[in-house]
Amino acid sequence: MTLKHLDLLVIGAGPAGIAAGLEAQRHGLDTLVLDENAYPGGQIYRSVSHSPLADPSVLGADYLRGRALVDDFERSSVAYWPQTLAWQISQDKRVSVTRQDAGGGTLQIAARAIVLAGGAQERPFPVPGWTLPGVMGVGAAQTLLKACAMVPQAPMVLAGCGPLLYLFAWQLIRAGVGIRAILDTAERGSYRAALSHVGGALRSPSYLAKGWQLLRAIRRAGVTHIKHVEALRIVGEQQAEAVEYTVAGQVNRIETSLVLLHQGVIPNTQITRSIGCDHVWDDAQLCWRPRLDSWGETSVPDIFVAGDGGGIAGALAAEPSGRLAALQAAHRIGQLDAATRDSTASPLRAELARHNAIRPFLDTLYRPADGFRRPAADDTIVCRCEEVTAGEIRAMAKLGCVGPNQTKSFSRCGMGPCQGRFCGATVAELLADIQGKPVPEVGYYRIRPPIKPVTLGELAVAVPSPDGSVLPRAEFPK
């Protein structure tokens, strides 16, 4: 197998990864940025430099803003491999990589430092019927708009809460797409609770102004906005036919063939878990995140996390966070003295703090309700892959299963192709709730590489190495 040596490997080409790559290059590091998608930008700036839309302005200024960053990156000489998957990372920073572009094939990369910029995924939203065709994430529908110029054919129902849901509603209105209703799951007391964090929010007033403008536009468009929804159930035989929702104990029903769910995003921790980095449970954001120092370094030396993969802070915070990680990597590699590192970092830290200031307000305002994280209805599927229900998890918790790895052994929950990405948080919270323990005591799945499937055929094809270095053949059976 081919072996490539590098100073810095950046995994993920969203705003954090791009910023890390550009910063690393400024300090003379031999850097490679790789990403699973066809174009740089991550999910937030998905396809921004290659938009299929005749009029990408329907997506709004915050999306178009990403164009400058992506253009800078594409014009730079930072090496960039699209459609490339890093599926195994060892603690000594040896990375197994499979390319789908350029003919495809597998190689290993030995990097002196690694920045993981894998971003976030939508938080699981386990309600009865969420596995039916015709139910998708709001983020998924937004990706279809950004990357494929596709929008819902008929008015649909948006259910949940959080900035992305309102942003997408606003984008749909601009694109002339009807919205049947927004079923808002933000809790009754959340607005008042969030007010106690308004001081921080006022340090980043543009977020408040934008949020207010989105909500006003939704109101002006006359979209039915039903608040304080307490329970949801999507019903249908082969696919979604209707959504039933509960307000003040009263069940109502809307006929619809498309329901888009959203209750925030959580860090994608699959890769940091697989390396064995320490993780902490974030009580404010209700998610796991890797434990990081002020440069973004994990508990494994020279492996960094930048952007939302280290805790949700948004696209604008991702850029300074990527640059900070690259600065420290450059320092470690001996390309940057401590004084220059620190003086460059200082304004980045101030910028990061400004963007982080809004988070306690947003985290409180759009805190997903307990009942939408720990489904009350026992027939709710928790593990989409192996179709394990909340009732089965509760039964295993009562039997004394001590953590997600044991419920996995008992029921295959978390053992399917998504490797727990869409059930891990729910299972841990359910077990903790039943057993009266804090979530960190319950823990998380042991994640093992490969973090995504790789075929034998892909493994067997070595990517040619420009420097000619090849691993000894003896590592493979003859």
Binding site: A38, H50, Q100, A149, M150
Partner: protein, 102 residues
């Protein structure tokens, strides 16, 4: 292309189309689409049935994390449709239940 799909296409920049076979039927789909989007654009909705209960599934996350859009692409099963750009002549098949071992 709009038929019984839940999705429609907004005006696009002209970038041509490619021919993709879905369960043997040819479709012209915009270049640059991914396989999951091509399936959603052309209906029917479901792209596979599950290995456990045989329930129908369709693309859910569109960003490579949920694995609900697994399909057979050019003879290789269990590929993530949302992560695979369409190519001219590509053959996509929906997958039914568990794979038979025999």
């Amino acid at each position: 292309m709009q038929n019984d799909s839940l999705f429609k296409t907004l005006p696009r920049v002209a970038d041509g189309t490619v021919r993709v076979f879905i369960d043997g039927m040819p479709y012209q789909v915009p270049r640059g689409l991914n396989v999951a989007a091509a399936l959603l654009a052309n209906g029917p909705l479901a792209c596979r049935t599950t290995v456990v209960s045989g329930a129908e599934r369709a693309p859910f996350c569109m960003m490579g994390v949920c694995f609900d859009c697994l399909v057979e692409i050019d003879g290789v099963p269990n590929r993530q449709g949302c992560m695979t750009p369409v190519q001219d002549g590509m053959r996509v098949r929906r997958m039914q239940g568990a794979r038979s071992i025999a």
